[in-house]
């Protein structure tokens, strides 16, 4: 049909290397997600604190993360910080870039989730003698995380897809980087990247299905 001989065997022979790359991809994605959630919680507290400087920090962070390309943020982490004499390894650059992005988007998700939690709950908690921090931690936070579980899953998928941008700052151990290096060795561009695509697809499907199972288990009433 095509005037082209597919060499799937060559690509399949490299599968173990690519799976190793997939592990690194997952490491970056999971780390950036955990750090992103923690930062987003802190930024949400900044927003709610009522202290003008802190909420301005949160607002600026969210707007920059949401209104510039993820690739730009990764460049910023790599070349931008580099011009301050802070030369980071590709792994750290991509981690910081994606974490920055995650934190921004998740803060916005948390903002939406907070709208669904009635103010009266905080007031009730405060009347019962809880401090502001205690009320946030014990009453608001668990509900907020539960409501934004689905958006968090989406963000996790994006984080996985974003790791492929690491190649632009010289990362060559993640799935995309490994594939690119193998491509330079063998020139089986289509076969190798098709295989990488299949792996990415499988990972994202496993993550979304896993999240759905966890949600069904955790959030039943």
């Amino acid at each position: 049909m095509f005037n082209y001989t597919f060499q799937w065997k060559q690509a399949m022979a490299r599968l173990p290397q690519m799976l190793d790359g997939a592990v690194v991809t997952m490491q970056v994605a999971i780390l950036s997600m955990v750090l992103g959630i923690l930062l987003a919680i802190i930024l949400t507290m900044f927003r709610l604190s009522g202290i003008r400087i802190l909420s301005a920090v949160a607002k600026t962070w969210v707007e920059i993360a949401r209104n510039t390309p993820a690739l730009f943020q990764i460049y910023m982490a790599h070349f931008g910080l580099g011009s301050f004499g802070l030369h980071l390894s590709p792994f750290l650059s991509i981690l910081i870039g994606i974490t920055f992005n995650n934190a921004g988007y998740l803060t916005e998700n948390f903002r939406g989730a907070l709208k669904a939690i009635p103010d009266t709950q905080t007031r009730a908690a405060r009347s019962l003698g809880m401090g502001a921090a205690g009320a946030f931690r014990h009453v608001v936070l668990p509900q907020m995380l539960r409501i934004s579980f689905l958006p968090m899953t989406n963000q996790m998928v994006w984080a996985i897809l974003m790791t492929s941008l690491g190649v632009t700052v010289g990362m060559n151990t993640d799935l995309y980087g490994v594939t690119q290096d193998l491509n330079a060795l063998t020139f089986r561009t289509f076969e190798l990247f098709a295989l990488a695509a299949v792996i990415f697809y499988a990972i994202t499907k496993i993550v979304t299905l896993g999240a759905r199972l966890i949600a069904a288990r955790l959030f039943r009433y």
Binding site: P69, A70, F72, Y75, F79, G82, T189, A197
Partner: protein, 217 residues
């Protein structure tokens, strides 16, 4: 105190990159939206089971990194079909499909948000399916879908930064070329980031405003 090697010619170079970003975005968003509406309506009409192949294909575009989609499309067009296609064309095709995949979901969500009773009332009054779609569903679904669609269009603009991989020199790529030459990463990245921000921020705000204004509560 503050000096830079940035010349007017470099600014023109950056502006060309910015123009490329905007051109690619506009073409992809228009083509992707048209396709997305078609896919979304088909998806809605067929239901989850009969539309399964369509759902699967569209899901692929949302579960694979755009970078890989671009590389694969480029390799497919170039070495397998042996078409002499420019990187610009490949970029537009891939980004359009990418947009369409997300847009189809937005369109479906919009159609589903129209109450079934309203549509039945329209049909009972003697409207045809097409009339129902145009006169009833379109205006009501638009209210639900437009804010997300604005978000999608902005997302495509930001994601268009990846088309460098098929040799299209858009804004971020031209910034990087200048960084390599001038060795002033911070200033150049600031300019580039500011450009994206200036376009994206007001539109995102407008989308948020519409969402608030048009929501029922």
């Amino acid at each position: 105190m503050f000096d830079t090697a940035l010349t007017t010619a470099d600014f023109v170079f950056l502006a060309k990159g910015a123009g490329m970003t905007i051109v690619v975005t506009i073409i992809s968003v228009i083509a992707g939206t048209v396709l997305g509406i078609v896919f979304g309506v088909i998806r809605y009409q067929l239901g989850a089971i009969w539309a399964a192949p369509l759902i699967f294909v569209l899901d692929i575009f949302r579960s694979i990194p755009l970078l890989i989609q671009l590389v694969l499309a480029n390799a497919f067009m170039g070495t397998i079909l042996r078409l002499n296609m420019s990187g610009f064309t490949v970029a537009c095709i891939v980004l359009s499909m990418y947009t369409a995949a997300y847009c189809a979901e937005i369109v479906r969500g919009g159609i589903e948000a129209v109450p079934a009773t309203t549509r039945r009332a329209a049909r009972s009054l003697g409207m045809s399916w097409g009339q129902d779609m145009r006169e009833i569903v379109l205006p009501l679904a638009t209210r639900v879908a437009l804010p997300s669609w604005i978000g999608l269009a902005l997302g495509v603009m930001k994601d268009s930064a990846l088309v460098y991989v098929v040799q299209v020199t858009e804004l971020l790529r031209s910034t990087q070329i200048l960084i390599t030459r001038l060795q002033e990463p911070l200033l150049l990245l600031m300019i580039c980031g500011a450009f994206y921000f200036v376009i994206s921020f007001p539109l995102a705000r407008f989308g948020g405003y519409l969402e608030k204004r048009w929501s029922n509560d």
